[in-house]
Assembly symmetry: C2
Homo-oligomer: 112 residues x 2
């Protein structure tokens, strides 16, 4: 079991901003995951990887792929209080789900 969180590299997020957006995505997708999968993932230490996306269109393509694979996922938009324009897409979380199901969506991406 793992969760992949994909964040944009093209909008100049600072380290703290990036971390907050990744956390937001992680929790949002987790809440859309069924209780059994949640428990399995937590029992295995909440394995997470943070990956790079080149821009908004790649985030949407990955979200669509997750939807078609039936993997829980969440696209995050920034509230726009700091740094970014309100509504800017920043990150996507995929899973938690079985490693191979997550990899079918994000397995080709580079580590952040």
């Amino acid at each position: 079991m793992k969760q992949a969180i994909v964040a944009r590299t093209d909008i100049g997020m600072g380290q703290g901003k990036l971390a907050a957006q990744v956390a937001h995505a992680s929790l949002s997708a987790y809440e859309d995951t069924d209780p059994g999968a949640r428990t399995d993932w937590k029992g295995g230490g909440q394995k997470k990887v943070v990956l790079k996306a080149s821009g908004e269109s790649e985030i949407f393509e990955l979200a669509d792929r997750a939807e078609r694979e039936g993997v829980p996922h969440a696209v995050i938009r920034d509230a726009g209080h700091t740094q970014l324009e309100s509504g800017t897409v920043t990150a996507l979380a995929v899973g938690p789900a079985a490693d191979d199901r997550v990899d079918r969506v994000t397995g080709h991406l580079s580590l952040f």
Copy 2:
């Protein structure tokens, strides 16, 4: 309502590592929070701030302060698969809770 996540600056975490540890802390403290506070926080957009701690001792002091204030919190140790030695303390999440309660614990820290 907000959640503060405090991460160490002294262990050379890369951006992706930092984001994963912050996400882990965020979810762990959230799970220790009562359902009413969870709902309030999510209704307000899951407000999060990511803050700096100078080292392990500061993380433990802040965790102790959160404990005494009765604010939900979670200290995260890295599983040690990459970058860090297994068991290294990386981050602390405080809240979600009312802003003033979180600020009594972390209000003096700098943004990451």
